[in-house]
C-alpha cells in the first residue's frame, strides 16, 4: 500500500470520494488539536501560576456567560461536522446509476467476485480506472466486511442479505482489500487486491483471462491455483497445521477421519475433498471447507492434485 503519493497519516486517495473524506478528517483534526492545545496549555499554566501559596485571591465559582460560551461554540462546530459527515456519507452510500454491477460472495475466508458476463475470480478483482462499479455483496456464513483503505470506503457483508459498495477508482495499480469484521481464525488472511487498469489494459486482461489455460504444465497450474484460489488461507505447504491439514507430505498419507475410519490420500480422495469437502473430514479439523463444485475445471482439479504430489 505505501506508494510515493501517500501521506504520513493516510494511504493514497484512490477513489473519487477519498479526498472529501480526508478533508473532513483534517477539519476535525485541526479543530481537535486547537482545543486540546488550548486546554493543556491552560492546565499547565494554571498549575504553575496558582501553585499552593500564591497570593492572588480566589476565582469565581461559576459564570453563566462563560459556560454558555463554551457550550455553544462546540455545539456549532459539531453540527458543522455532522452536516459535512452526512453529506460525504450519502456520496459513499449511493452508487451512480451507470455503475457496473459485480456480485461478491464472502465466505470463510475468501472473497469471490462474479462479473455480469459470468467470469469468476477469487481474492482479486480487475476493474477499469475512472469507471463506477457497484458491488452487490452477501455472505455464505458469518458477517464479513469489505474495506478498501485507499478508497476510504467500507461495508459489512451479511449472510441472508445484500449490501452494496460502490467506487470509481482514480489511480491505476493495486489496492488492498481487508476483511474488517472479525470472522474467525482466517480473518486476518482474508485479503484481496483490486487491480485498476487503463481501459486498454483492462481489455487485454479480459481477453487473456477468459481463455482457459491449457498449456501450463499441471503441477505449475496447481501452484498458481493454490495462490489465486487462496487455498493457502487454510492449508500450509510447510507442514504446519492451519485451519485444514497441510499439503506437505499429504499425498499417500493414511489419514484418521473424524468418524474413526482411515483413508489413504489418493487422487480420488483429493478430488472428493474439493467437491464434497465435508464427506470425509480428517480428525482434529472442523468441517468448514466450502465446496468447489462448478468452480474448478477437471484440468484444474488435476493440476491441484499434481501440485500436492510435488509437496513431499
Amino acid at each position: 500500500m505505501p506508494t510515493e503519493n501517500d501521506s504520513f497519516l493516510f494511504p493514497p486517495q484512490a477513489s473519487t470520494y477519498a479526498a472529501d473524506v480526508d478533508a473532513l478528517y483534517y477539519f476535525i483534526h485541526y479543530v481537535g488539536v486547537f482545543f486540546w492545545v488550548l486546554i493543556v496549555a491552560a492546565i499547565v499554566y494554571f498549575l504553575w501560576r496558582y501553585r499552593r501559596g500564591h497570593k492572588e485571591g480566589v476565582g469565581p465559582s461559576h459564570s453563566l456567560p462563560l459556560e454558555l460560551t463554551w457550550s455553544i461554540i462546540p455545539l456549532i462546530l459539531v453540527i458543522a461536522m455532522f452536516l459535512w459527515g452526512f453529506k460525504g456519507f450519502m456520496t459513499l452510500s449511493r452508487a451512480p446509476g451507470n455503475a457496473e454491477t459485480i456480485n461478491v460472495t464472502a465466505r470463510k475466508w475468501s472473497w469471490n467476485f462474479e462479473y455480469g458476463n459470468g467470469q469468476r475470480l477469487t481474492n482479486e478483482l480487475h476493474v477499469e480506472v475512472n469507471k463506477p462499479y457497484k458491488l452487490v455483496m452477501t455472505s455464505e456464513d458469518v458477517i464479513h466486511s469489505f474495506y478498501v483503505p485507499s478508497f476510504r470506503n467500507k461495508m459489512d457483508v451479511i449472510p441472508g442479505r445484500y449490501t452494496t459498495f460502490w467506487f470509481e477508482a482514480t489511480q491505476t495499480g493495486e489496492h488492498q482489500v481487508f476483511c474488517t469484521e472479525y470472522c474467525g481464525d482466517g480473518h486476518s488472511d482474508m485479503l484481496a487486491k483490486i487491480h485498476v487498469h487503463t481501459p486498454e489494459d483492462f481489455a487485454k486482461w479480459q481477453k487473456e483471462s477468459q481463455v482457459e489455460d491449457t498449456t501450463t504444465p499441471l503441477p505449475e497450474l496447481g501452484a498458481k491455483l493454490y495462490n489465486s484460489r487462496a487455498c493457502f488461507t487454510c492449508h500450509s505447504t510447510d507442514g504446519s497445521a492451519k485451519v485444514g491439514p497441510s499439503f506437505k507430505g499429504l499425498f499417500g498419507k493414511q489419514e484418521q477421519l473424524a468418524d474413526g475410519t482411515t483413508v489413504t490420500v489418493d487422487e480420488e480422495y483429493l478430488r472428493e475433498s474439493m467437491l464434497q469437502p465435508n464427506a470425509k473430514v480428517v480428525q482434529g479439523f472442523q468441517p468448514v471447507m466450502p465446496t468447489y463444485q462448478g468452480q474448478l475445471t477437471d484440468r484444474e482439479i488435476s493440476g491441484l492434485i499434481e501440485y500436492i504430489k510435488t509437496l513431499q
Partner: protein, 551 residues
C-alpha cells in the same frame, strides 16, 4: 459541614490510629464473607477487580507480544483470538463496569452521604456474591475452551464457534445482576440517606456521577441480560432469533447489544468524572467551577447515551436515515463532556494547587481523556467513521477513554482514598515516578494505534501486512512500559499496608464528609449523625468568602 462533630476521634487525635475500626471490629474469614459493612464489601470488591485487572492485563501483554511481528510470534491464530476476546471480556465485565462504583463507590458513597451504610446492606453483599459467581463462570469458560468471538459476541459467528460462548455469556448475564443491585442500592441511598441538611446541590460531585451511573445500570443492563440469554437459547435450543440460517437477523443482535453496551461505556466513564471532580476540588482547595453544570452534565450524558447506539453500526447495513439520526444524536454527547473538561480546567484558575500523586493522575486524565473525547468526533461523523470503523483507530479511541480516562481516574481515586481505606500513606515519591511511567507507557502504546488506524490497519488481526510492523512494534514496547508502571504501583501500595506512615483522618485537607472521620473509619462511620450547612467544597483557609461562594 464544617460544624459537624461527626468523629469518634477527638479533634486532638485526628492524626492518630483509631483503636477499633472496620478492619478489626470483628475477626475471621467468616466475618468478612458475611459482612454487611459497605466498607468491607468495597474492599473485597477492590481486591476482586484488581485481580481481574491483573488477569486482563496479562492477556493484553500476550496480545501485544503476539503482534510484535506479523504472522506467528508466540501463539497460533485461534489462541490469539481467544486472548483478545478474554482481554476485552474480563476488562469490561469484571473490571471496568464494577471498578469505580462497586469498589470505590461502595466504600465512599455512604460516608460522603453521612450515612452508616447503603440503603440495603444485605443486597449489597448479595451483589458481591453474584459478582463472584459470575467471575467463577468466566474462569470456568476459560478452561472449557475459552471463547474467540471478541467481547461483543457478534452473531452469527458466536452461534457457530465451538468455543465456550454459552458459559461466557451466562457469566456476563450473572455479572449484570451484580451491577443492577449496586445501581439500585446507590439510587435509593442517595434519595433516602443524605445527612440532615445535605440537599441535592450540597452533595459531592462523585455522588451525582454515581447517581447518573446507577440509573444507566438499572435501565440498560436488563437489555444485555435478555440479549445474552437469547444467544444462550439459540446455541442450546436452536431458536432462530439471530442466525440467518434459521430465519433470524444477525444485525438485530447488534442493535440489542449496543443498546446496552453504548450506555455501558458511560457506566464505565461517568464515575471517573466524579472521582476527578473530588480530586481537583481537594488539591486546588476550590469548589468545582460551575458545580451545577458539572452535576447536570453527568445526567445529560446518561440520558443522551441511550439514543446513540446506532453509531456502532454505520456500515452494518442500517438505512442511511438511521445513520443520520444516530450521528446527529452522538454529537450531542460531545457538549456535556466538553463542559466538564472546561469546568475542571477553570477550577484550576486561581486555585491553590498541590501536585500530589492523586492530582497528577487527575491531570493525566484530563490530557488523555480529552484526546479520547476529541477522537470520538471522527467516529461520530459519518463519512470519516466509514474509513475508521473496525480499525485500530477505534481501538485507540476506546483505550484513550477507557484506560487513559477511566483507569487513570480509578488509579487517582485509589491513591486519593487509599489513606482512608487503609489508614496508611504510600511512598509518594514512587507514586509520582509511577504516574510518569504509566503516562509514557500508555501514550506509546495507544497513540501509535491512531496512526495504524488512519493507515487502515483492521482490528482483531492476528497477521498483518509488513508495512504496519514499525507501529505495532512501538505499541508492544509501550505495553511493557505500562507493565513496569503497574508493577511499581502494586509494590508500594502493598508495602504501605505494613510500613506506611499513619495517615490520620484528613491527610489531604479535603472537605467532604469521609475525611471527617477516622482513617480507617469505624464500622458505623460516624459516632453521631453529621449535620450539613454548606456545599461540599469549603476549605478553612478561605474563611467566610469560601463558604459563601460554595453554599
Amino acid at each position: 459541614m464544617s460544624t459537624t462533630t461527626a468523629t469518634p476521634v477527638p479533634a486532638a487525635d485526628m492524626d492518630a490510629w483509631p483503636k477499633t475500626h472496620y478492619w478489626n471490629a470483628t475477626r475471621g474469614l467468616k466475618s468478612w464473607l458475611f459482612t454487611v459493612d459497605h466498607k468491607r464489601i468495597g474492599m473485597m470488591y477492590l481486591i476482586s477487580i484488581l485481580t481481574a485487572f491483573l488477569l486482563g492485563g496479562v492477556f493484553a501483554i500476550l496480545v501485544r507480544l503476539e503482534l510484535l511481528t506479523p504472522g506467528a510470534t508466540i501463539v497460533g491464530a485461534k489462541t490469539y483470538n481467544q486472548l483478545f476476546t478474554l482481554h476485552g471480556a474480563v476488562m469490561v465485565f469484571l473490571f471496568l463496569v464494577p471498578s469505580i462504583p462497586a469498589a470505590i463507590g461502595n466504600f465512599v458513597l455512604p460516608i460522603q452521604l453521612g450515612a452508616k451504610d447503603v440503603a440495603f446492606p444485605k443486597l449489597n453483599l448479595l451483589s458481591l456474591w453474584v459478582y463472584w459467581l459470575g467471575a467463577l463462570f468466566s474462569i470456568y469458560s476459560l478452561f472449557a475452551g475459552a471463547i474467540d468471538t471478541g467481547w461483543t459476541f457478534y452473531t452469527p459467528y458466536s452461534l457457530q464457534t465451538d468455543t465456550a460462548v454459552t458459559s461466557m455469556v451466562l457469566a456476563a448475564f450473572i455479572l449484570g445482576f451484580s451491577s443492577i443491585l449496586t445501581g439500585l442500592n446507590f439510587i435509593v441511598s442517595i434519595h433516602k440517606l443524605r445527612a440532615p441538611g445535605m440537599t441535592w446541590f450540597r452533595m459531592p460531585l462523585l455522588l451525582w456521577a454515581l447517581y447518573a451511573t446507577s440509573v444507566i445500570q438499572l435501565l440498560a443492563t436488563p437489555v444485555l441480560a435478555i440479549t445474552l440469554l437469547l444467544i444462550a437459547a439459540e446455541r442450546l435450543l436452536g431458536v432462530g432469533i439471530f442466525d440467518p440460517a434459521l430465519g433470524g437477523d444477525p444485525v438485530l443482535y447488534q442493535h440489542f447489544f449496543w443498546f446496552y453496551s453504548h450506555p455501558a461505556v458511560y457506566i464505565m466513564v461517568v464515575p471517573a468524572f466524579g472521582v476527578i471532580s473530588e480530586i481537583v476540588a481537594t488539591f486546588t482547595r476550590r469548589p468545582i467551577f460551575g458545580y451545577r453544570f458539572v452535576a447536570f452534565s453527568s445526567l445529560a450524558i446518561a440520558f443522551v447515551g441511550f439514543f446513540v447506539w446506532g453509531h456502532h453500526m454505520f456500515v452494518a447495513g442500517q438505512s442511511e436515515f438511521a445513520g443520520m439520526v444516530f450521528s446527529f444524536l452522538s454529537f450531542f454527547i460531545a457538549i456535556p463532556t466538553a463542559v466538564k473538561i472546561f469546568n475542571w480546567t477553570a477550577t484550576l484558575y486561581k486555585g491553590s494547587t498541590r501536585l500530589d500523586s492523586p492530582m497528577l493522575y487527575a491531570i493525566v486524565f484530563l490530557i488523555q481523556f480529552t484526546i479520547g473525547g476529541l477522537t470520538g468526533l471522527f467516529l461520530g461523523a459519518l463519512a470519516t467513521d466509514v474509513h475508521f470503523h473496525d480499525t485500530y483507530f477505534v481501538v485507540a479511541h476506546f483505550h484513550y477513554v477507557m484506560m487513559g480516562g477511566t483507569v487513570f481516574a480509578f488509579l487517582g481515586g485509589l491513591h486519593y482514598w487509599w489513606p482512608k481505606m487503609t489508614g496508611r500513606m504510600y511512598n509518594e515519591k514512587l507514586a509520582k515516578i509511577a504516574v510518569a511511567i504509566l503516562f509514557v507507557g500508555f501514550n506509546v502504546t495507544f497513540f501509535t494505534q491512531f496512526i495504524l488506524g488512519t493507515r487502515g490497519m483492521p482490528r482483531r488481526y492476528y497477521n498483518y501486512l509488513p508495512e504496519y510492523q514499525g507501529l505495532h512494534g512501538m505499541s508492544s514496547v509501550g505495553s511493557w512500559i505500562l507493565a513496569v508502571g503497574f508493577i511499581i504501583v502494586a509494590c508500594y501500595l502493598v508495602a504501605s499496608l505494613r510500613s506506611g506512615k499513619i495517615a490520620g483522618a484528613n491527610p489531604w485537607g479535603a472537605s467532604t464528609l469521609e475525611w471527617k472521620t477516622a482513617s480507617p473509619p469505624p464500622t458505623e462511620n460516624f459516632a453521631e449523625t453529621p449535620h450539613i450547612h454548606t456545599g461540599p467544597y469549603v476549605y478553612a483557609d478561605e474563611g467566610i468568602e469560601g463558604s459563601r461562594r460554595a453554599a
